[in-house]
Amino acid sequence: MLAYDTFTLANGLKVIHHLDEKTPLAVVNILYNVGARDENESLTGIAHLFEHLMFGGSKNAESYDEPLQRASGENNAFTSNDITNYYVTLPAENLETALWLESDRMFQLNLTPKTLEVQQGVVKEEFKQRYLNQPYGDLWLYFRPLAYTTHPYRWATIGKELSHIENFTLVEADSFYKRFYNPSNAILVVAGNVSFKSCKELVTKWFGEIPEGEINKNTYPQEPLQTEPRRLEVDKEVPMTSISLGFHCGARSDDDFYSLDLLSDMLGASASSRLHQKLVKEQQLFADIAAYSTESLDRGLFIVSGRIFPGIDPKMAESAIWEELTAFKNEIPELREWQKVVNKKLTVLKYMELDVLNKAMNLALFTHLGDTNKINTEEAAFLATSPQSIHTLANQLFQESNCSTLVYKAKT
């Protein structure tokens, strides 16, 4: 049971406090309600590029990083299709430095041509390093526009192409900042060895005077129901052909998320999972295979993806996946299999509680999902699923008309 307190400033900033007296540290985590799904299709990748610009210094802190390093702190950030999340870990006594820096860049960020130009270069190199200069690195760049026709999930966080990153202007950066980076559109978590009283005092002191702004309403063009199978085959310079199947599934905050999560574990999380046992160990068609869901805030994807051994017919391998999915649809799993995946989940949940940064990030995420207390009901939610509920969900998902297939073919 994770205890927490919340309060909201007059400008709309939601604050969550969690006391952990076992650690000498404090964590400051700020989640901004903006991600790649808020971009325009002709200017993609900018939510992530903007995250880089947030480190360019602010009116009263010429550099963001240096004062934090002097306060023995460490920080980083990530952008997803849904959110942008910034986090700092530092000695609890130095909490105020983190609040000063975070509030100053929320209030009055320095956006300079030099910062923009350099970070455009850095992000272009990130694009190359992670997506272009790696075998299979661009797989998702093909997969997203295949699975989504309408919703902005059809492009990746890094963006559709390098030119979008190059074209982003300072004026656009400034309007992006004004629109999304304000207290009304953010969630602040202070966790660690800090009392509620001093958290409230310091947060009010540093964030209280920032003017309120617009709240992102998170309305997006909704993805129409898929009615027939989709398929793309690409020839690539890779050693093994990769086959990926994507099924439209629910959102992270849907009630059936917990069944969905366990379904992916039964199919393809551990070495004893079905796809691994049947397709890697027994039939030796695949060198590796996994199943997982994207855990998106809007309706997401359930993915089955694996790489086949050379000489194996991709069509045969694909049918072998379908055989396993069909077997799942035809028969309710045994109780022992359900217990197995639930038990593994309980270990993971225990593990998540060990780390104060993890706790802070999750508190921010669950608050953003609409109910902070869901962090404490996850265990019960997994236990409330059943072999039957997972079986029912599998029957809804695994329809050919709900499937996008990408064959990423090794050139022979």
Partner: protein, 419 residues
């Protein structure tokens, strides 16, 4: 309005928690270290002193560690994996130069069951031929995937250049090596080395007494010696490896350096952090934040048994690779020629003490620090002294350390990209 130009006061975190472990020497000689406090999530790690320094044939040890849970005289791999999964346990098996380590994570109320099962498996490993063949086929395919990465070649060529292709530190697996490896090689390594090599066990929480008796079932063969490997033979120092159609070049530079046991180590460690060990480092500021050539560049010290090396690594814009190498040389020269400022010195000191503090946070991290102490035969007060020494270092100390150790004639420079 508050005055935002007033920078908040800060402290430097120099105090560290004390290690609180019970040490038991079991009748068979195995050392058992158990943290005293009860934890809900257990992590227990078994260290078998039979890493690749002990093996005569390339790939034997990594194959064994990947196949350790692939079968016993009674159980198939599926049954082993399913049983561990059923009790919510996670395992992590690593093969190092000195040790093969088997780490178990599970919730405390299953710990007795899990340990009993795991010991039973580890004492009775019988690898089926079919599992071995599958391992080999997967390894061959994964090798092909690695070979498409510039960063893989940069690292491989660097280690070979630094230690020679015959030395365990310098060698890497080729497709031919996988073809030459047999199930008998791996099974024999298990019987002749692994079984008698359990050296120590580290747990983040007290373990049930019944577990002690199980650990004692392993024979502890102290006669096993590292294989007499060929000595270090440095290769070509400057290597430019052409890689068709690379959109970035992978750079890997470095040289042998001092170890944690050296009196100069704290000064060296500060020097390297300042040079390339954190986000505000000289290399990051120059290559990323000023020039935008890369997503990241870093320098760090890597510790091997009785040896260590400095590495400087980055994936950079292909056209900028030579310029980037020149800048790395320039930054080294600056460290030797110019005194750093008091401000930069203090920033690095504070940052480093913060890193040490974070690295001690939580029972799992505390176990990791304790492991470093055991591995490198350090004093229990090592980190405390390290912090104290970092605090006393001066600008002159850093410059002297740079002059003493950063000789660019010793630098190995590998670049893999399109030329």
């Amino acid at each position: 309005m508050i005055n935002r130009t007033l920078v908040p006061d800060t402290i430097i975190p120099s105090a560290l928690p004390k290690f609180s472990f019970n040490t038991t020497v079991l009748p068979n000689g195995v050392q058992l270290y158990e943290a005293k406090e009860h934890e809900e999530l257990v992590r227990v790690a078994f260290y078998f002193k039979c890493g690749s320094l002990y093996s005569k044939k390339k790939g034997q040890v990594s194959a064994l560690s990947k196949l350790l849970l692939s079968g016993t005289s009674k159980l198939k791999s599926y049954s082993i994996q399913e049983e561990l999964d059923f009790y919510g346990a996670y395992t992590d098996i690593e093969n190092g130069y000195e040790h093969v380590s088997v780490t178990l994570f599970c919730v405390n109320h299953h710990v007795e069951k899990i340990i009993t099962f795991m010991i039973q498996v580890l004492r009775d490993v019988q690898i089926p031929q079919v599992e071995f063949d599958l391992f080999r086929n997967k390894s061959l395919e994964n090798l092909k995937v690695s070979q498409q990465k510039t960063s893989y070649h940069a690292r491989r060529l660097f280690m070979e250049s630094l230690y020679g292709s015959e030395h365990p530190y310098g060698r890497s697996m080729s497709a031919e090596d996988y073809q030459n490896l047999t199930l008998t090689d791996v099974q024999n390594y298990y019987s002749d080395y692994f079984l008698g090599s359990l050296d120590h066990i580290i747990s983040n929480t007290p373990l049930p007494k019944s577990a002690h008796a199980l650990f004692n079932k392993f024979t502890h063969d102290t006669t096993i010696e590292p294989f007499n490997v060929s000595s270090i033979k440095e290769g070509e120092k400057i290597i430019q490896y052409p890689f068709k159609d690379a959109v970035q070049a992978s750079l890997f530079l470095g040289m042998p350096c001092i170890t944690r046991n050296d009196v100069d180590y704290p000064a060296w460690s500060l020097l390297i952090t300042l040079f390339g060990g954190y986000f505000g480092s000289r290399l990051m500021k120059n290559i990323r934040e000023d020039k935008g050539y890369t997503y990241g560049i870093g320098a760090g010290t890597h510790h091997l048994p009785d040896s260590a090396y400095l590495s400087i690594r980055s994936d950079v814009k292909n056209e900028a690779s030579q310029d980037c190498i020149n800048e790395i040389y320039k930054e080294i020269a600056r460290l030797k020629e110019e005194l750093i400022t008091e401000e930069e010195l203090n920033t690095v000191k504070n940052y480093m003490l913060g890193s040490v503090q974070r690295s001690f946070d939580g029972s799992l991290s505390l176990g990791d620090r304790f492991k470093t102490i055991i591995d490198h035969n350090l004093d229990l007060d090592y980190y405390h002294h390290y912090n104290q020494q970092i605090l006393t270092l001066s600008k002159d100390d850093i410059q002297k350390t740079a002059i003493k150790y950063l000789d660019t004639n010793n630098l190995h420079v590998i670049s893999v990209g399109t030329y």
